[in-house]
C-alpha cells in the first residue's frame, strides 16, 4: 500500500460515509407532494363546509379516520409501519370524503374509506402499485353497495343532496329540508320558515333529463334549449360557486380551479391533465346531441351541436356547455383526482390522450348512461387502459 501518512489528519476522518451519486439532497419528495394535495383539498372542503354545513366535516373526517385506521391496522398486521403510506392514506380518505354527499348515513364514509385503502390500495401493494384511483374506487364501491343511500331516484328530487339556503350557510341543519317546487336560484328563491336547506334536482341530473328529452319546455315561443336552461337549471353562477346539491368537494368550481393552479405551479400536477379533461368535456358537451322533447311525442328529434344554439341573440348553447363543465364531479376529477400520478400515464403525451378521453367519457356517461358518479366511473375506466397508453407513448431515445 502507498505509505500515506494519515496520522497527521484528525481522527474524525477515519469514518467516511459512502453513497451513490448524486451527492445532493434532492429538492423534491413524494411526502411533500402528498401534503400539498391535502392542503389544496382543503379549499373545496372549505367551500363544502359552507354549503353543506358541519355535516360535511363529519363525512370527510370519518372517511379520513377510516382510511388511516385501515392503513395502520394492515401495517401493524404486516409489521410494516410506513409514515408515507399513512399520510398517503389520509390524502386518499380526504379526497374520498370530497366525493361523498354531506347528508348520508354515518357508515357510508367509513365503509368507503376502508374499502378505498384495503381494496383499492393495499391489496395491490401500496403506494406506486395500484392501478385504479383508490378514492374513486371507494366511492364507486359504496355507490354499488348502498345505492339507496346515495343514488336518488333519477327522475325526481334526490333525497341525499340537500344544500343550505341563504342565511343558513355553515351553521344550518341539513335535515330541515325544504323540497323546492319553484326553485329559481339560490339567491332569489325565498325559503319558507322553519327550514334551513333546499332539496332540488342536481344540475347534472337536469342535464341528463335534457339529453333524455324529459326537460319539457314551457313557453312555446322559446327555443327549447333556452327554455330548459331558464326553467329547469339553476343560474350558472350557482354551479360555478357550488351552491347546488352534490358531493362535498364537487360543487365549487372556483375553489377547485385555484387548487389545481397552485398544484400546477408547484409541479405536483401537469397542466395537460386539467386542460385535457376540461377541453374534451367542453367539446363533447358542445357536440353530443340532446333531445328537446319527450320520447314518443313526434317532435323528439336529436339536436346535434347544441353549442350553436343562439336563440333570440342569447348564447344558450355556450351556457349549456358551461353547465357541463361546472356541475357534477367533472371539476373534482379534473383538478384533484385525475392528476394522481400512479394511476395516470407517465408521459405528457400519454396524459393528454388520457385526459381527453376522460373528459369526453365523463360527459358521455353523464348524458346517456349514469346519473351519478359519471366522472368516477370514467376515471376508473381510463385508469384501466393506462398501460396501453403508456406502451404507445414512450419517448424516442436519442440516436435511435
Amino acid at each position: 500500500m502507498s505509505r500515506v501518512n494519515q496520522n497527521r489528519l484528525p481522527q474524525a476522518l477515519a469514518r467516511l460515509h459512502i453513497g451513490a451519486a448524486p451527492h445532493l439532497v434532492p429538492a423534491v419528495s413524494y411526502t411533500e407532494s402528498i401534503w400539498t394535495y391535502i392542503a389544496m383539498a382543503c379549499l373545496p372542503l372549505g367551500a363544502g363546509l359552507a354549503v353543506y354545513g358541519l355535516a360535511a366535516a363529519r363525512v370527510v373526517g370519518l372517511s379520513m379516520v377510516a382510511a388511516v385506521l385501515t392503513q395502520r391496522l394492515i401495517g401493524a398486521a404486516k409489521r410494516q409501519p410506513g409514515r408515507t403510506e399513512i399520510t398517503h392514506s389520509a390524502m386518499m380518505g380526504m379526497l374520498l370524503g370530497l366525493t361523498l354527499p354531506a347528508a348520508t348515513a354515518w357508515y357510508i364514509p367509513i365503509a368507503a374509506g376502508a374499502i378505498a385503502v384495503a381494496v383499492g390500495k393495499v391489496a395491490f401493494g401500496g403506494i406506486g402499485h395500484y392501478f385504479w384511483h383508490p378514492a374513486a374506487l371507494g366511492r364507486i364501491a359504496v355507490q354499488v353497495l348502498f345505492p339507496e343511500k346515495l343514488s336518488p331516484d333519477l327522475w325526481t328530487h334526490g333525497t341525499n343532496w340537500p344544500f343550505l339556503a341563504r342565511g343558513h350557510l355553515l351553521t344550518g341543519d341539513l335535515s330541515r329540508t325544504c323540497v323546492a317546487d319553484h326553485y329559481v336560484g339560490w339567491q332569489n328563491t325565498p325559503l319558507p320558515g322553519g327550514f334551513d336547506a333546499w332539496l332540488a334536482p342536481r344540475p347534472e341530473q337536469i342535464l341528463r333529463w335534457l339529453a333524455d328529452g324529459r326537460a319539457e319546455p314551457t313557453g312555446s315561443a322559446d327555443h327549447p334549449l333556452l327554455a330548459a336552461i331558464r326553467d329547469a337549471l339553476p343560474p350558472w353562477q350557482d354551479t360555478v360557486l357550488g351552491l347546488t346539491g352534490g358531493g362535498i368537494g364537487e360543487g365549487c368550481a372556483i375553489a377547485l380551479m385555484v387548487a389545481a393552479i397552485y398544484l400546477m405551479y408547484r409541479h405536483h400536477l401537469r397542466w395537460q391533465i386539467v386542460v385535457g379533461v376540461l377541453t374534451a368535456a367542453a367539446a363533447a358537451a358542445a357536440v353530443l346531441p340532446i333531445r328537446l322533447a319527450p320520447e314518443g311525442s313526434g317532435d323528439g328529434s336529436w339536436l346535434w351541436l347544441p353549442v350553436l344554439a343562439w336563440p333570440e341573440g342569447l348564447p344558450a348553447g355556450p351556457i349549456y356547455v358551461l353547465y357541463h363543465l361546472t356541475c357534477g364531479d367533472l371539476m373534482l376529477v379534473a383538478c384533484l383526482l385525475a392528476g394522481e400520478t400512479v394511476t395516470n400515464p407517465i408521459t405528457p403525451r400519454g396524459q393528454i390522450i388520457f385526459a381527453l378521453a376522460l373528459g369526453a367519457l365523463t360527459v358521455f356517461l353523464r348524458m346517456y348512461a349514469l346519473p351519478v358518479c359519471a366522472g368516477y366511473w370514467a376515471l376508473l375506466a381510463m385508469n384501466t387502459v393506462v398501460p396501453l397508453i403508456d406502451r404507445r407513448t414512450q419517448p424516442r431515445v436519442l440516436g435511435t
Binding site: 502507498s2 476522518l13 451527492h23 445532493l24 413524494y30 403506494i127 407517465i346 431515445v397 440516436g399
Partner: protein, 441 residues
C-alpha cells in the same frame, strides 16, 4: 459571428444556479509533502511495467514505467524524489492497482526531463500520435488515451474537433479557470490537432453565462479557424453526446461514442496537456482539479501531481467542521471514496469535501414521470430500474446503452430511487454482451 446566432439547447436536463463569470482565485499549486503513489494503470488502460527500482532517484518527467502492449500508456514521475517501493494504490474507480511510490525531495530539484524535442507548429498525424503516446496524454472527456483516439482518424475521418469548457454541474470550475488563464494555448493546441487529423471545423464550446470570458475569447478567435459556441449551461450540456447533438445536430447511436459520429471532443485540460506534450515534450503528469465542498477551508482550483493522496490534498486546503463524505468528481457523477488513501489521477476532475452525508430512503416509484421529463437522451429510467430489479435478461428495447450517466433522474426522483445506479449497471451489462457478441462468430 457564431455567437449571435441562437444556438439550440437540448430537451430535459437540470438547471443549477450558475455564477455569471468565471469564479475563483487563480489556479494554485499543491506541492506534495507525503509520498506519491503514481498508479501504473489509468482509466481502461492495462498496467505498465516499472523500469525503476526502489531507492532510485527520479527527476520530474522521467519515465518510470513502460507500457507492455499497444493499449497501454507509460508512466512518468511527476516530481523529483526517490522511489520507495513498487507497491499498490487505490484510485477512485479502481482498487489496488500497481503503483510506484515516490518520496518527493523538495531540496534536490532535478531538471525536468522531456519525452522528446519540441515538434514543429503543424506536426503530421503520425508524429502527433507518437508524441501523445510517449507523453501518456489521456483525453479526460472519455478517459481514453488521446493517441488511440487520433489513430482512429486514420480509419474513419473526424470532421469536427470540439474543445469543451462548459461545466454545468456545481461546483466544477477548473476547465473554465484554465481557459481563462491560457486561452491562446488552448486555441493553438486545438488547431494543431485539428490540422493533423484534417478536421473541417474547430469549435470552442463555452458557457454563455461567462460574459467577460466570452467577450475576450471573441476577440482572440477573430481571424482564427476556431469558432466560438456559447451554449446555455444547462446540465449535462458538457456530456459529449449532448454537446454533439446541440452543436452539430448529430445523434450518436446508443452504445457508440462521438468519434463514431466523426467528432473528437476534448476538454480544456486535455488540450493544454496536448499542447505541452508537443511544445515542450512534457508528459501528462499533473491535473488541474476543482477542490470544493462545505468542509474545505480554502476551496479553489489546484494543479495536483498524479499520485497525490486525497489526504495530502485535504491537508493542503484545510478543513472546517466535520468531514462526512469525500467525493471524487462533481456532485452529480462523482464517486464517494471510503478513505483518504485514494490518489489523484489524470481523470480526477474534482475533489469535494462534504460535511453532510445524505442518503435517501427510497419508496416505490409513483410514476410521476419526472425522470423521463428530465432525461436528456429520452430514456425511461424508472423502467430501467424495474428491468434491473427483475433481472430482465434482455433490456435492449429500453436502450440502456444510450444512458450518459448524468444522474439527473436520481436527482429529480421524488421517491429517491437509485435510478442512476440501475442504468449504469444495465449499461455495463449491455456493453459486456455486445463485446461478447463481437468476439464470438
Amino acid at each position: 459571428m457564431s455567437l449571435f446566432r441562437r444556438r439550440p439547447s437540448f430537451r430535459g436536463g437540470y438547471w443549477f444556479a450558475q455564477p455569471h463569470d468565471v469564479p475563483g482565485e487563480p489556479i494554485g499549486e499543491i506541492s506534495p509533502t507525503a509520498p506519491l503513489a503514481v498508479p501504473l494503470a489509468d482509466g481502461s488502460c492495462p498496467a505498465a511495467s516499472p523500469v525503476v527500482e526502489a531507492g532510485q532517484a527520479v527527476a520530474p518527467g522521467q519515465l518510470i514505467a513502460r507500457s507492455q502492449d499497444q493499449d497501454g500508456l507509460p508512466a512518468h514521475a511527476p516530481v523529483s524524489g526517490n522511489v520507495i517501493e513498487i507497491g499498490r494504490a487505490d484510485t477512485a474507480d479502481a482498487c489496488d492497482v500497481p503503483a510506484i511510490v515516490i518520496e518527493p525531495d523538495p531540496v534536490r530539484r532535478a531538471d525536468a526531463q522531456s519525452v522528446g524535442t519540441p515538434l514543429p507548429d503543424r506536426p503530421g498525424l503520425d508524429k502527433l500520435i507518437e508524441r501523445f503516446e510517449a507523453a501518456a496524454v489521456i483525453n479526460t472527456v472519455d478517459n481514453e488515451p488521446l493517441h488511440q483516439q487520433l489513430a482512429r482518424a486514420r480509419q474513419r475521418p473526424i470532421h469536427h474537433v470540439i474543445v469543451n469548457s462548459i461545466e454545468s454541474q456545481p461546483p466544477l470550475v477548473a476547465q473554465r479557470r484554465q481557459l481563462a488563464e491560457r486561452p491562446t494555448d488552448v486555441l493553438d493546441a486545438a488547431e494543431m490537432i485539428g490540422h493533423a487529423i484534417g478536421a473541417r471545423r474547430l469549435w470552442l464550446a463555452i458557457s454563455n453565462t461567462a460574459g467577460g470570458l466570452v467577450r475576450s475569447l471573441q476577440q482572440r478567435c477573430g481571424g482564427r479557424p476556431t469558432r466560438l459556441a456559447a451554449l446555455a449551461p444547462k446540465y449535462p450540456q458538457e456530456s459529449p453526446v449532448i454537446l454533439v447533438h446541440t452543436l452539430l445536430g448529430l445523434a450518436v447511436p446508443p452504445g457508440h461514442n462521438t468519434l463514431d459520429a466523426g467528432v473528437l471532443v476534448l476538454d480544456v485540460g486535455t488540450a493544454l496537456a496536448a499542447g505541452r506534450a508537443t511544445r515542450n515534450g512534457q508528459p501528462h503528469t499533473h491535473r488541474v482539479l476543482t477542490v470544493a465542498g462545505d468542509a474545505a477551508e480554502r476551496p479553489g482550483c489546484y494543479r495536483v501531481a498524479v499520485g497525490t493522496s486525497l489526504a495530502d490534498v485535504c491537508e493542503h486546503v484545510g478543513l472546517r467542521g466535520p468531514l462526512r463524505r469525500v467525493v471524487v468528481g462533481g456532485v452529480m457523477t462523482g464517486l464517494a471514496v471510503s478513505d483518504l488513501h485514494t490518489v489523484v489521477t489524470r481523470t480526477t476532475s474534482a475533489v469535494l469535501f462534504l460535511s453532510q452525508s445524505w442518503c435517501g430512503r427510497p419508496i416505490a416509484c409513483v410514476r410521476c414521470g419526472a425522470c423521463m421529463d428530465h432525461c436528456p437522451v429520452g430514456l425511461a429510467p424508472a423502467s430501467l430500474l424495474s428491468a434491473f430489479e427483475l433481472d430482465q435478461a434482455d433490456a435492449s428495447e429500453l436502450y440502456p446503452e444510450a444512458c450518459i450517466e448524468c444522474g439527473v433522474c436520481s436527482l429529480v426522483c421524488p421517491s429517491h430511487l437509485p435510478l442512476l445506479l440501475a442504468a449504469q449497471r444495465l449499461k455495463a451489462r449491455a456493453g459486456v454482451r455486445r463485446a461478447a457478441e463481437a468476439t464470438s462468430p
